[in-house]
């Protein structure tokens, strides 16, 4: 499903976020990415998502080599991936409903279908009572759950979740991972970047450790 070969990411000024990362995540796997602050977790996920290009190396997602995907196809690839951004990336002026609906609307899903699916996923993340609130007024944890709902609603082939429990209390954090496990059980590949060692310990899933941009475990 996801393969990386000798991927590095350098920035001008000599700093680098990833160096020589080679890894393989099978279809239907559930993987944690761990590492301390600045280790390169977000960079790794963004490269998988195609929103950052690697400086070196090759990535194959879903059988397609990233360097060969024409610009015009990137939207279609992104529709198959649900991404939970570390900083949420919601439309502040849109309501919770609209934010979640957006990822279906861009795909051209009809409004009745959109409504049904959004309501369902909002109930999963316990935000049905916030559906008509503007995203700008949400609490941190609520916003994070909207971001999670937006990633889940399109039934993606892959979920890439960047620190999806950072703003959630331990109880909600566990529920969220359970949600991911459930979709994983239905065949979705799930990659979760987190520094929450309790979660990693609790789930005993495969964990890829990063340290200063290198894979260590």
């Amino acid at each position: 499903m996801i393969r990386m070969f000798h991927v590095s990411k350098n920035y001008e000024g000599g700093s680098f976020a990833l160096s020589d990362v080679t890894l393989k995540i099978a279809k239907g796997e559930f993987v944690f990415i761990t590492g301390s602050s600045g280790a390169g977790k977000t960079t790794l996920l963004k490269i998988m998502f195609g929103s950052e290009a690697p400086s070196e190396g090759q990535i194959i997602i879903d059988g397609r080599n990233y360097f060969k995907i024409p610009r015009a196809e990137i939207p279609y690839l992104r529709r198959r991936i649900g991404f939970v951004f570390q900083d949420f990336k919601l439309l502040p002026q849109g309501t919770v409903f609209e934010n979640v609906a957006l990822s279906l609307k861009v795909m051209g899903v009809g409004s009745i279908e959109v409504k049904r699916r959004v309501q369902k996923v909002l109930s999963y993340v316990k935000l049905s009572h916030r559906a008509n609130f503007r995203a700008a007024v949400l609490s941190g944890g609520e916003a994070q759950r909207v971001a999670i709902a937006r990633a889940l609603v399109k039934d993606p082939a892959i979920i890439l979740a960047d620190e999806p429990t950072g703003n959630l209390d331990p109880h909600l954090a566990v529920e969220t991972i359970e949600l991911f496990k459930e979709v994983n059980g239905r065949g979705t590949t799930v990659v979760v970047a987190t520094h929450d060692s309790t979660l990693i310990a609790r789930y005993a899933k495969r964990a890829i450790g990063l340290e200063s941009g290198r894979v260590v475990a």
Partner: protein
């Protein structure tokens, strides 16, 4: 997964665009008014120059040529002579001034001192044709060609015209055309620039929104269409606003100006045509500016 067709998709996006415009009503209105002001300035110039040119062409009527007729030629009848003048290329009208009329005119000029010609019993003044040239011949060359042909007429005793006037007028005409082009190009450039910069800024103000759309898998077209629709609507509103401003300005001036200056405020277009022209140029500008801004912003 149910997919919708292109048309219903656009309707969907149009509804989105309208919702977003309602949410940013003040900002959209200001942008529309900016477009309107720019268009109004552009059309103001356009009308000034169209009216100026038509006025200048009327001045061209002052270009006239006088052909004095040999007394001997008059016996053959005026009509034949007049026809031979009328069909010269460049001649618009031919007016006959008889010997008697010439004398009367002289008397009118001497009003109060007619005694000076009281003793004259045979009318010594020649008859003449007063010839106006058609607009295309009002320049120095055109007039020279008409004069040349007239001089060759057997019945013509003398041909007179104001060479100074003709030269001044044709130079003036060239200058007006040049000035209108220079100012017109400048105003058009300024209008296009102001409108596109305004729309660029509104796109820029929504950069985070666009970023989010791209990240959730929106195609470029999906992102552009609402801006396009917004640009078209703002352009339309701007066009109507411009029409309002121009019409109001015209009415302020219309009642208060000397009748012989009416031409200055004449509209080259009917009201509905004008509305169509303004709305269409507003929409075209809004659409073009939004396409350019979003395309540049999306970086392809």
């Amino acid at each position: 997964m149910k997919k919708r067709g292109f048309t219903s998709g656009v309707v969907y996006l149009a509804a989105d665009a309208l919702r977003s415009m309602r949410a940013n009503a003040a900002s959209c209105a200001l942008t529309a008014v900016t477009l309107g002001f720019s268009l109004a300035i552009f059309f103001l110039f356009l009308f000034i120059f169209i009216n100026l040119e038509s006025a200048v062409n009327k001045w061209g009527d002052k270009t006239h040529i006088v052909v004095y007729i040999k007394d001997t030629a008059l016996k053959d009848g005026v009509e034949r002579l007049r026809d031979s003048a009328r069909f010269i290329p460049g001649v618009k009208t031919v007016e006959y001034v008889s010997k008697e009329k010439a004398l009367e005119e002289l008397k009118a000029e001497l009003k109060g001192h007619e005694e000076i010609i009281a003793g004259v019993d045979v009318n010594p003044l020649p008859a003449s044709f007063d010839i106006r040239v058609s607009p295309a011949y009002t320049d120095a060359q055109g007039v020279a060609s008409v004069v040349g042909t007239l001089k060759a007429m057997s019945w013509a005793s003398d041909v007179q015209y104001s060479r100074e006037w003709v030269e001044k007028f044709s130079a003036f005409l060239r200058f007006i055309e040049l000035a209108a082009t220079a100012v017109g190009v400048f105003i058009a450039a300024a209008t296009v620039f102001i409108i596109s910069n305004t729309i660029r800024l509104t796109v820029w103000a929504r950069r985070d929104e666009i970023e989010v759309m791209r990240l959730v898998g929106a195609t470029d077209a999906y992102i552009k269409i609402p801006f396009f629709i917004e640009g078209v609507i703002q352009g339309f509103i701007g066009g109507v606003f411009a029409l309002g401003v121009l019409t109001a300005g015209r009415y302020i001036l219309l009642g208060r100006m000397p009748g012989y200056l009416d031409f200055a405020l004449s509209l080259p277009l009917d009201f509905p045509e004008l509305l169509a022209a303004l709305a269409a140029s507003g929409m075209l500008m809004g659409a073009t500016a939004s396409i350019i801004s979003t395309t540049r912003f999306l970086g392809n």
